[in-house]
Amino acid sequence: MMRDKQRYVLVEAYPDADGYTETFWNQLSDELLRCIGETNYHITNPKFVKFVGKNTFIIRTTVPGAAQVILSLALIKNLNGKEIAFYTLKTSGTIRALLGREKTKNKA
């Protein structure tokens, strides 16, 4: 089966992501749906991957939908009545490259 190529987006929340609960992602995906629109949401198909720091997390999206997700994150300023901003720091095709890990130089 053919797998679609994915794009990983590193996002920083300001002032904070308010915990690491599932409700945070549910609220954020609702806002993303509002910004992207019901007819285009399936193209972007954003999924929460994991938190990598206190306020930093990774979103997985499709390659053609990455620009829409970046734009929508710039437009979201309110989440559940609380002011919040999302900065898109980096995008990459792999989580390893996104987090800036060095590849092992000497492969056997």
Binding site: I70, A74, K77
Partner: protein, 185 residues
């Protein structure tokens, strides 16, 4: 900070924020900007009461009054940000003659919601198209009043793309034209 764009060109990105915006240098680096200029410190707001009349070369004119903006363009301000809903052909012609930059503050899009946001996008795209027809350089700046409204360089490119600039010209505006705007002469 130097960032590689997808097309392979080495670009440095610049932004301009409002004087009330407070941020630290680590945030600037994380957002991918070489410099974030502050209005009032790096660039003078010529439309305000605090304008320095002697230094028009480092000023940006703000306002919705066409006569005031025309006078500022004739005096040779560095940039003009039109806050009103009009697009005046004469003003754009004077701006071109005097080498003024058209400044598009993107906080009009990020800080609004609903129909107001849509109207602002429409107004900005019309302004952008009119300016590019006359070959006036356009600067896309966040003009954030607080840290909440700041954006990374990628978000600025996508916002500029929303205002009908294609990605390569948006990247050019945010790197080259914003540099001219932010750097002091």
């Amino acid at each position: 900070m130097i960032v590689y764009l997808r097309i392979g060109v080495l670009l440095e990105y610049y932004d301009l924020v409002s004087e009330t915006c407070v941020f630290d240098d680590s945030l600037r680096m994380r957002l991918g900007f070489s410099k974030i200029g502050v209005l009032g410190r790096d660039v003078i707001a010529a439309g305000s009461n605090r304008s320095n009349v002697a230094d028009f070369g480092n000023s940006v004119g703000f306002g919705g009054d066409i006569e005031q903006l025309l006078a500022l363009a004739q005096r040779g301000v560095k940039g003009i940000a039109i806050t009103g809903s009009f697009i005046d052909r004469k003003l754009l012609t004077v701006m071109k003659e005097n080498g003024c930059i058209l400044v598009l503050p993107l906080n009009a899009i990020t800080a609004s919601r609903g129909i107001v946001r849509t109207k602002n996008i429409y107004r900005m795209s019309k302004l952008y198209r009119s300016a590019t027809k006359l070959e006036i350089p356009v600067a896309f700046v966040s003009m954030a009043k607080t840290q909440l409204y700041m954006n990374s360089y990628m978000q600025l490119i996508e916002l500029a793309n929303l205002v009908c600039a294609d990605r390569s010209s948006a990247a050019h505006c945010i790197s080259e034209v914003n540099k001219k705007l932010v750097m002091r002469i």
